[in-house]
Subunit: 251 residues, 2 copies
């Protein structure tokens, strides 16, 4: 099984993602928010690229979420803070989400065989689910404005580590990773006991803390705390357990 890490959206070539399982990562904060919203009972998340697409998608009862420059978009119900998406607000609701980097990465991955949303919080379950499809895996870091982001890189390294562990435990085929995947796995292993403070030292972590979102960074830095794995199903991110794929896969 080949596992390749891609450092940012611009580095991803659509033709390299075809036939693969793609795990999209935007730790600060889009994929952490998606996981949180579904964990709290949200029916589904519809990722869109622009604010006008979000408004066009909206049906009666739908919630609008998203950010530009880390801040809530005027007229939207939520920003991009996972802590806003509480059960009280999102239970059984469709949420239309547009963010600067994360939703763009999901769009880029759309033609892949399978698209999952990964973050530090769901890494082990996300790795296990990805392996269960038996396909090669691409870990697509959203990055920030086409640059590598430390938090996405460490999450990619963690996912590679969990995939290697999981495949090893199942005595399945060997895992090969590209050079970036190897480097980020080493980086994660070096910092694994110190993820929260490392995220607070990252470029996005510092920016968010300055804007008053320090608590978000701490929340997003928690590792393997939920089994919620969002999967893209007809343009909507839904819990993997509820998806068509889950019903057809031998697990």
């Amino acid at each position: 099984m080949q596992v390749d890490v891609i450092s940012s959206v611009n580095e991803a070539r659509t033709d390299e993602l075809l036939h693969k399982t793609v795990i999209v990562i935007d730790v600060l904060r889009a994929t952490s928010t998606v996981v949180s919203a579904l964990d709290n009972g949200g029916a589904c998340i519809i990722p869109v690229e622009t604010v006008s697409q979000a408004k066009q998608c909206q049906s009666l009862g739908d919630l609008l979420g998203g950010e530009r420059y880390c801040k809530k978009i005027a007229g939207f119900h939520f920003g991009n803070s996972p802590l806003e998406y509480t059960e009280q607000h999102v239970k059984d609701r469709r949420i239309i989400l547009t963010t600067t980097n994360g939703t763009r990465a999901v769009q880029k991955a759309q033609r892949a065989a399978i698209v999952l949303a990964g973050c530090l919080r769901n890494a082990a379950s996300c790795a296990e689910t990805a392996v269960s499809f038996g396909k090669d895996i691409a870990v697509l870091c959203s990055g920030t404005r086409d640059e590598f982001s430390l938090e996405d890189g460490l999450c990619a390294g963690l996912l590679v580590e969990r995939i290697v562990q999981f495949v090893g435990n199942q005595s399945r085929a060997r895992v090969s990773t590209n050079d970036l995947g190897m480097a980020l796995r080493f980086a994660y292993l070096h910092q694994q006991d110190d993820i929260t403070s490392t995220l607070l030292e990252s470029s996005n972590g510092k920016r968010l803390a300055r804007l008053g979102y320090r608590e978000d960074v701490v929340y997003c830095s928690e590792v393997d705390v939920t089994t919620m794995v969002p999967i893209l199903d007809q343009g909507m991110l839904v819990p993997f357990s509820c998806s068509a794929q889950a019903r057809t896969l031998p697990r």
Copy 2:
């Protein structure tokens, strides 16, 4: 002092390199070869992009070195193996070098204030020399055909680590690094006792070993074994100690 790591030549924007000290890295093998050739008494290395440029540059007595697809170019004196550039062959000779990635990276960096050639073998001295100029530093990994290479990434991480140590010892200003620099420093620290086997597991390391250059990979994986720092001076890489900059700098 800001220290930014750039993952491959294509990621480098010339305007971001202006006014900086740029350390160009191509561990396997161009910058290791340059260091080796100068260590063995070569007068200078002239990096050029194409085979025809190399031939046009050649004056009587000059040596031609370089590779395409890791192999020696027909009619050239040397390939790109640092082990070929022995004192017997290179002493006091000008060498014109063209390689797939490394010499392209030097060309890209040409408009920077200072350009140094770094590899694992000269990392500590290269870091110390870079810091001595007092400018912000860009560490430019050559990569392989515009993709990140593990060996260049680990060397970049080592350089960041040595720069931090050196600035710390001098009680100078604090070093800030970009997210990629932080990640690669962590990766280096995790693998620092195992650099040779890690390089042999990298994509380029495996390719070179397959082609019969395993000994090159081992040689290029040795850390801090020489104080030779090549600097670009009027289009030629010369030992820093012989350059105009060395004569004008307070050291």
